[in-house]
């Protein structure tokens, strides 16, 4: 069990003169002081339907001013960090203010990625006026379609074919000439030039045809040799003639290519000129079109391929179509990264999954024949792209817990450009075809929403943070509860009820909600600004009103919602109370006993806080001047708790027997506490137990005590006072209220009292008492019924008073120590004599 006591109002001033305090004058608080009611009579409306919506943000003037400044400030680095605990409506408020800015700003540019004809792995980014990107993409698609129709048509033209024939004829004539001349020479020698499937050969002629081999063999030997020799010579000649053919072919091919280019140029220029005229005012588009023009001319053959060419096969099996043409033509596509066609004004983007890729965009890959490939059409926008020219809202914790996301975000803000880098690439996890897209200029106002601790930690440890987030938007958790604030709060309730389509609340219900707001703030003079809690309470009240078939939410519905909440959450509290009532956890609520007092702690479990009493005991004996805190010895006590206990020693040694050594050994413990104890709110209780043990004066067990104490014996403010009182009250009520029971609280905490109705009613009936206490003397008087006593003119406390008894005991300890003859110092330490 942990008892958390964040010390509130640490600077509570204790200016009263402690020595002038009159004993036995402390009166319990009047019932009216125990809970500051909200009077429904002050409201003029019948139900919240009569109230206007609340346009302004209630109680967040500091935050709102900061947002207005952050939004208006156009300079670099004036990004906002909206900080505060969950549930204050930070997102809603920020968004509301940003939305007001939207119509005043122009819609930002559209952005496209296009192929870079010079360096293909660095796609170009092109900005277009808002809404033009889609049209540009369509225009480009149409242009490519037109080229695919126009270019083959140009190649079908008579002009082209005549020219083509000319080139082919030139080549074949040249070839025929060379071969023909040799053929002619062969003919003169009675030799025929034979065309074979793979080339040429020479054979003896017989008439118009080749000589039959048998005939040849019948020729005279000399003739045979002559022919063979002549043929061999002719073959050599032919070889050298054919040798030049490939060169001629290359020449012809080059001419053909030049011709193709000429023919294409006419088509391409015509079509692209049309586009140029349309995009004349956009230099980057014109530049792209120029690049494309040359690229098309360089790759004319792709456009000449008919779309429905035969599918290639291997041994009769159709091969997967690689679609060379189609995949090639992807390069003329336009990848519209971001477009603002349908949305006027600046964009507001909330990225609820701010991973690195979701922020800066990513490059996707597709699997092609088992390999991962990518191109510029697979570049996807991130939320920075979407928010560019507008506002981006992020959750601090989410962005900080995503690997590398925070660094990427800062890099983008600092460099004022969005550079898409794949995470896999950055970490060298993936090695595959990659792209390096041209960065896009970034102009975004970032709002990071997070808890205060994150803001302060980042400020302290991230050197770039203060550079980039110059506007802290700090949200308040509560507002002051002035009478006019009640009405504003009522209007806030009305606004929420209407917005959430809930039943209207009557004045009494509103008053009850306001009281809860105060209780939630833990302060009678404040109202909680926990919007989420307020929303939930109104929704739950509406539910209970519905189950009771009411058209208007009444105070009992609100009360029922609150009670139901407690019922749902109070299992642990019930078990603990049951343990006390069954006598397993020892807590006395009647009688009196020395050295034993009821302390109070607060436990917070899943949003539900409750108080529970603890028995605190003290034992004393003669010793070495040390107060042992058992919690601390076993490391169950926190640092603040230990501090509280050490202050007790300070108080004892300062107030009593100042001229004698403190020869006391005391031990203090939270009985039956098996978990950690933190906070100093029990230090006054511990002191009472100690004083009671020293004075041997029994303490009234009908009372419980809370409050911290300082070295002068002043009782100081603590937290969770309402829960603590109610925790003790619940136990007492279960056992039957005797009329003696009550709780001692620090006077400074009276302002925090917003007690449950049953506690207030019991107090009003005089069956339960809340004592505001300023000093330890006041407290000990209430607990023992014996005056504390003040030092008289002689410097002595009046006999019979608590202080007198305590001092007497301490003097006795000191004297006895001296009587034993042993110095109250640690063993082995002797005074040194100087030589």
């Amino acid at each position: 069990m942990s008892a958390a006591d964040p010390p509130e109002n640490p600077a509570a001033a204790f200016s009263m003169d402690l020595s002038n305090h009159k004993s036995g004058t402390t009166r319990p608080l009047a019932a009216a002081d125990l809970c500051r009611r909200c009077d429904p009579g002050q409201f003029k409306f019948k139900t919240t339907d009569d109230l206007e919506d609340l346009a302004q943000v209630l109680g967040q003037a500091r935050a709102v001013n900061a947002i207005e400044f952050g939004v208006g400030m156009g300079r670099d680095g004036y990004n906002m960090f909206a900080m505060g605990p969950e549930g204050l409506g930070r997102h809603t408020i920020v968004r509301r203010y940003l939305e007001r800015q939207v119509p005043q700003r122009e819609a930002p540019s559209d952005w496209c990625y296009v192929y870079n004809f010079a360096t293909p792995h660095k796609p170009r980014a092109i900005a277009l006026p808002a809404g033009r990107a889609i049209r540009f993409k369509e225009d480009m698609a149409r242009l490519v379609e037109d080229l695919r129709a126009g270019i083959p048509a140009a190649f079908e033209s008579t002009e082209y074919r005549a020219k083509q024939k000319e080139i082919e004829t030139e080549f074949s004539e040249r070839q025929d000439e060379a071969v023909g001349a040799i053929g002619e020479r062969a003919k003169q020698q009675g030799i025929a030039l034979v065309r074979t499937p793979a080339g040429f050969g020479f054979a003896p002629r017989a008439g118009d045809s080749v000589m039959n081999p048998d005939e040849f063999r019948r020729l005279p030997e000399a003739e045979q040799q002559r022919l063979e020799h002549a043929i061999s010579t002719l073959q050599e000649e032919l070889e050298s003639a054919i040798h030049d053919v490939p060169k001629w072919r290359r020449e012809a091919q080059r001419k053909l290519r030049e011709l193709n280019r000429q023919v294409t140029r006419a088509v391409v220029n015509g079509l692209i000129e049309e586009m140029r005229a349309e995009y004349g005012e956009l230099p980057s588009v014109l530049e792209y079109l120029t690049g494309m023009q040359e690229d098309v001319l360089d790759h004319v053959e792709v456009f000449r391929q008919p779309k429905d060419a035969e599918q290639p096969t291997l041994f009769g099996v159709p091969l997967p179509v690689s679609e060379i043409g189609e995949s090639f033509l992807r390069r003329y596509q336009v990848n519209v990264l971001i477009e603002h066609g349908g949305t006027p004004g600046a964009p507001i983007v909330y990225e609820d999954h701010p991973t690195h890729d979701n922020l800066v965009g990513r490059i996707e890959h597709i699997s092609q024949m088992g390999a991962l490939v990518t191109d510029f059409t697979l570049i996807k926008a991130g939320s920075l792209h979407r928010a560019n020219g507008g506002y981006l809202i992020l959750d601090a914790i989410k962005v900080l817990t995503q690997p590398l996301a925070w660094e990427a975000l800062k890099r983008a803000l600092r460099s004022r450009e969005i550079r898409i880098e794949s995470l896999g690439q950055m970490l060298s996890l993936i090695s595959t075809v990659s792209l390096d897209p041209e960065p896009i200029p970034l102009d975004v106002k970032l709002v990071v929403v997070g808890p205060r601790i994150i803001y302060y930690l980042l400020h302290a440890y991230d050197p770039e943070f203060s550079e980039l987030f110059k506007v802290a938007v700090d949200f308040e958790e509560e507002i002051g509860r002035a009478p006019e604030a009640d009405l504003l709060y009522a209007r806030l309730i009305a606004t929420i009820a209407r917005h959430e389509k809930l039943r209207p609340l009557d004045a009494a219900a509103v008053a009850r909600v306001i009281e809860h707001g105060s209780r939630n703030a833990g302060d009678a003079e404040k109202l909680s600004m926990q919007m989420r809690d307020l929303n939930d309470l109104l929704r739950e009240s509406d539910y209970w009103a519905a189950t009771a078939s009411r058209k208007v939410i009444r105070a009992e519905d609100v009360q029922r919602a609150l009670d139901a909440r407690v019922e749902r959450a109070d299992r642990v509290r019930d078990r603990l109370q049951e343990e006390i009532l069954r006598g397993r956890l020892l807590i006395d609520t009647t009688g009196s006993r020395a050295g034993q007092v009821n302390g109070l702690s607060v436990t917070q479990l899943g949003g539900f806080s409750f108080g529970i009493p603890h028995r605190i005991t003290a034992r004393v004996r003669l010793g070495a001047g040390k107060v042992v805190d058992i919690e601390r010895e076993v490391e169950l006590g926190g640092a603040i708790h230990s501090k509280g206990v050490l202050i007790l020693s300070g108080f004892l040694s300062g107030r009593y027997a100042a001229n004698k050594p403190l020869s006391l050994a005391a031990s203090l413990v939270f009985e039956q506490s098996y978990g950690g104890v933190e906070g100093d709110s029990a230090s006054s209780a511990e002191l009472y137990a100690l004083l009671s043990a020293l004075a041997d004066a029994p303490l009234n067990q009908s009372l419980a005590v809370t409050g911290s104490v300082n070295q002068h014996g002043a009782v100081q403010a603590i937290g969770g006072v309402n829960e603590k009182i109610e925790g003790f009250f619940d136990i007492c009520r279960s056992r039957g209220l005797t009329g003696e029971q009550g709780v001692l609280i620090p006077s400074a905490n009276v302002k925090n009292l917003m007690l449950r109705r049953d506690v207030v009613e019991a107090a009003a009936a005089g069956r339960f008492h809340i004592y505001p206490v300023d000093t330890v003397d006041q407290g000990i008087e209430i607990l023992t019924g014996v005056p504390a006593g003040e030092r008289g003119a002689s410097g002595q406390f009046p006999p019979g008073t608590i202080n007198f008894l305590v001092e007497q005991r301490l003097v006795e300890f000191a004297d006895r120590t001296r009587a034993f003859g042993a110095p109250p110092l640690a063993k082995g330490r002797r005074p040194h004599r100087r030589p």
């Binding site: 025929a192 499937p197 080339g199 050969g201 490939p246």
Partner: protein
Amino acid sequence: MTKRIRRVIVGLDPLQQSRALLEAAAELAGEMQAELLGLFVENQDLLHFAGLPFAREVGFESATRRALDVGSMERTLRALAKEARQALEAVASPTRVQWSFRVVRGVPAAELLAAAEESDLVIANLEAPPDVPSAVSFRVIRAGDVEALRAALEEAGGGVLVLAGADAVRVGETLRQAAGRGTQGAGHSRRR
């Protein structure tokens, strides 16, 4: 258009395979509801040449000499004949034209004409008109001469030899024009 042409014979030259010529012939045959015969002539000159003891072939692309013999030449011709048959099948099967394929050995022009009858139309990629045997009377038309071809088809209704030469595209156009099918390019006519 006369219907007396019963068969279109297309010469399948081992040296110059022409799909365009085949397509034109198949189309014409379809048009005339005639049969289509692909005649592959294994040129006797080639076999004679390969039979010579010192037969060498100078490669057209490589410009180097290779020794030849009858066996290898026959194998080459058989492979080419198979290819020609496949080409014919590929062109003719999708149409309703009845088609057949035959391999003969001899002098191409002579073999073509020998296979032909009076009611046939013969298309061959020959450069020069051959000696037409006296047994058959053939009108020889050069590719490109649409009028002459049209007239010949009108008058005779058969016994026409079209000399395609090496320009298969032009002969295709000529045949199509003669059949009254307009002047579309060969590339478009195959779209179905």
